[in-house]
Amino acid sequence: MSSMAKPAQQRVGLLQGTLDMLVLRTLLYGPAHGHQIGKHIQRTTNEFLQMQHGSLYPALHRLEQRGWVVSKWETAPDRNREFKYYRLTAQGKKQLVTEESQWKQMSEAVARVMWPAAEES
C-alpha cells in the first residue's frame, strides 16, 4: 500500500485539476509526445511552471484512460525515431471546454473574494 500512497498525496490539490487542462490545451495544437508537451508548457509559462515529468506521465496516462487522448507510436520527422504521440479526442476537446469554463468561474470567484473592491468598481 505504501508505494501507492505516496504518489496519491502528490497529486492531490491544485495540480491535478489544472495540469490535465494544460495538457489538453497543449494538444489542441496537434499531436505531441510527452517531452514536447512538457517543454511546451514550460516554455509558454516562461518557465514559471517547472514541468515535473513525475506528474506529466501519470497525467497523460490518466487522460488516455479516460478517453480524452489517444496515443500512437510514430516516427518524429526531425529525429528519425519513434516517439509516443498523444492526440486529442473529440471527448477530450469537450472536456477541455468544460474545464476551461470551470477554471474561469473559479478564478473569477477567487478574484471576487480576494479583491472585493475591484469587483465593485
Binding site: M1, S3, M4, A5, P7, A8, Q10, V12, G13, L14, Q16, G17, T18, H33, G34, H35, Q52, H53, G54, S55, Y57, P58, L60, H61, R62, Q65, W73, R79, R81, E82, F83, K84, E99, Q102, Q105, M106, A109, V110, R112, V113, P116
Partner: protein, 868 residues
Amino acid sequence: MTKRDEDLDRELRSDLELEEEEQREGGISGGEAHYAALRAFGNPALIREQTRAVWSWNWLESLARDLRLSLRTLRRTPGFSIIAILVMALGIGANVALFTVVRGVLLKPLPFQDPDRLFMLYESGMNEDKTPGYNVVAGGIYAEWKKQNQSFSSVALVTNSRVGLSGSGGQLPEKLDSTEISSDLLPTLGVQPAMGRGFAQADDSPSANGTVLLSWGLWKRRFGGDRAILNQTIYLDAVPYTVIGIMPAWFDFPNPDTQLWTPIYHDKPPELMAALDNHNFRVVGRLNPGVTAAQGVADLSVTSQRIHNANLSDPFIFSAANSRPLLEHMVGNIRKPLYLLLEATFCLLLIACLNVANLLVARAASRRKELAIRTALGGGWLRLMRERLMESLLLSSAGGALGLMLAAAALAWLVHTRADMSRVESIRIDGVVAVFTVGIVVLCALFSGSIAAFSAGDKRVLSALHEASRSAGSGSTRASVRKILLTLEVGLTVVLLIGAGLLLKSYERLRSADMGCSTEGVVTMHLGIPDARYATPAQRANFFSTLLERVRALPGVDAAGFATVVPGQGYSGDWGFTIVEHPPLPQGEGAFALDRWADSKYFAAMGIPILRGRTFDDGKRLNAANEVVISQSFANQYFPGEDPIGKHLHVELNKHRTAVIVGVVGDTRFEIGEEPKPIQYYPLNAGDETVGTLVIRSSRNVEQYAMPVERIVAEMDHDLVVSDVLTMDQLLGKNTSDQSFNATLLTAFATLSLLLAAVGLFGVMSYLAAQRTTEIGIRIALGAKREQVMRKMLLDGMGPAVFGLVLGLAASVEAGRLMRDLLYEIKPLDPAVFLAVAATLLVVAAIACIVPAWRASRLDPMQALRTE
C-alpha cells in the same frame, strides 16, 4: 512484464534520450548531458511507478484516498465521531439483536425432517360461538383419527407432565418436567435417540414395563453422562422405568423444560386414553406428500363428525378438527411481541440514522466554504459526495462493529433471562446475521450519507463563496433540511413513546388486577405424591391431612391449605356437570366449569372470601366427602336469582358422584389478565388427587417456610420433593413476565429515542444560533430585547418538535391499532398515555432548545459582530 509496461518503458526511454540529445545540442558534453537530462527529467523509475499507479490503482487508490481523508476529518472532530458512532451502534445493535431473535425463533425451520409437513392437530367446533377453534384432543378421538385417516403418514400424542425422580446413589429426589408421548412421536418428527432406542409399540401399553428416554441435559447432570445408565432402572413417582435411550442435546420437543419422555399409554389410565370427551392431549401429525393441510383437516373432521353424531347425548364431543403448522404452534405467543419489538428497533434505527444525518448535514454546512473552494479547484461533485458517503460508511461501520458487540451481549442476557421462551436455544449469531449486519451498516451509511450529501451538494459555488464572505443570514436551506429530519425524528420518537406508554400502562393494570385472593404474605409450594405408593383414597387423604396438620403447627403459620391448582397457575382443566334440581339441557348442550380440589382451610389460607354457606366439613372423608363449593360467577351463571346452597351437582369425575353445594366463594382469576371463570371446588378429603400446591399464610416472612416444610415432607416420605417455592407475588410475576419484558424493552427503546431526539434538537438549535450569531448581534445592537431574541429562537426550535409531535400522534393511532392484542384493559387510544407522551416530549424539546436560545440571547453584540 506486460505489454503496457514495455510500452511505458519505451516511451520514457525515448523521451529521456530526446532530452539528452537536446542537452547535448545545447552544448553540454556527453557524460554531463546524461545527468543533466536525468535532472531535468526526474527519476524514471519513480515516474514509471507513479504512472503505473494511474492504471492499476486508479479506482482502489482513490477509494483509499477518500478513506484516509474521511478518517482524518473524523479524527479531527472526535466528539462528533464518538457521538455518531455510539448512536449508530445503539441503533444497529438493537436491530441485529432483535433480528437474531426473530430469525432464531420465527424464521429458522424446526430441526425436524421435512418440518413443513408437520402440523399440530386440534379438535374444533362444539358450539359455534362458545368453543375455541383449537382445542386439545381426547384420547379416544386420537385413536379414531389414527385408525381412519388417509392424509397423515403418522399422528402422535404429546402431553406435559411432572414426575418425581427418586433419590439414588446419594442424590436427592427431584421433581422434573416430563413429557408423555406415544411411541410414534419420534418417527413422526423424524428424530432418533442419540444413544439407545426410541419407544417401540410394545413399550407403549399399560401392561408393558416402564421405559424412559432421558434428555441429554438430564443425562449429563444427573447421571454424569455415563453410558452405563442405559438399561438401568430409575424410579419415577415410585414406579420403575428402564432407561432405553438418550435424546440428542438439541432435542427439546415440546419445550426446553422437558427432561425426560415416557410412553403415554403406559402412564395414563386406559379409560382416559379411550375417552371421547376428556380433552387432554396435543396431537402432532405428519402430512402425506401431495396432501394439503385443509384436505388433512377435512379428512379428520369426517371421523370427528361421525363420532359426534353417534354420541349426541354427550355434549362434550367435538364435531370437527383443525390444524396449525407445528412451528406456528410452538411460537404462537411470542410472534406478535417479537414483530412489534422488531418494528420498534427499526424505528430506533431510523432515528439513529436521522440523527447521524443531521450531524453530517451540520458538519457539511460548517465546511461549506472549504467544499466550495475544493469544487472550484476541480474537485468533482461526485468526488465530494463520495467523501460524504465514505464518512458515513466509516461511522456506520464502526457503529456496526460496536453494535454487533452490543447485540451479542444483549442476546446473552436475553437467552439467560428468557430461557422460557420457545426455541430460545436456536438464537445464535451466525453467517446470516453477519450478512444482515453488513446490510444494515450499508443501508445506514447510504441513508444518512446521502441525506447529508444531497443537502450539501448544490453546485452554486459562487453563491457559497459569496455567502461565506458575510454570514448574516446564511444556511437557511440547510437548516430547513435539518428541521425536516428533526420533525421525522420527533415523530418516530412519539410513536415509540406511545407504544411504550401503552404497554407500561397495560402492564401496570395487569399487575394491579384483582386476583380475588391475597397476594401478600402467602407462599405456594408444589408437591405431589406418587400414585403407585399412595394407591388408595384413604392413603392420599391421610397424607394431606397429616401434612397440613404439621404445617399448621409450625410457628408463625396463620393458615395453611392445599389445592390442586391455585389462582395464577393457569386454566388447568374443566369438567361438565348437570344440576340435579334443574331440567335437563337441550341435547348437545352442556354446562362446564373449571374443576379444583381443595381442603377446607384452603379458602382461608388463600384469602378467598366465603360469600355464602360454609367450607367443606372436615368430618366427611373419602366416599362420604360429597360436598362442593362453587365460585360467585358459577352461582351467577347457573343459579341466577336462586339460592345455590343445598342444590346438587352431578359430575362424572373420577367416580360418578352427586355433590351438594355447601358454599359460595369469591371469584379468582386462573391467570392474571384473564376474566374470572366459574369454578367448582371438590374436597381433597375425597382422596382423589395426588398433586397440587401447598399454600401457607403468615404475617412473618413467608419464604422462610420452605426449609421446615421440606423437612416435614422428607420425614413423611423421603422420596418426595417440594418444588417451585414461590410467593404469590412471584407466581403472578411469572404470569406477567412476557408483558413486563415487552414493556421494559419498548420503554428502553423509547427512552433512547427521546434522548436522541433531544440531542438532535439541541444540535440543530445550537447550530442555528451559531449560524445567526451575526444577525442576533445586529438585532441586539439595534435594540432588540434579549427576551425577544430568546423567544424567537425558542419558537424556531419548537417548530419541528410540534410538527413532529402531531405527525407522531397521528402515526400512533395506527401503531396502537396494530398492538391492540398486546394491551390489557386499555384502549389503543388511551388519552392519558397520549397526553403524557405529548407533555413529556414538549418538556424535553423545550429543555433541549432553551440552552442554545438562552445562550443566543446572552450574546455580546460587539463580540458577535466581530466573529468571522
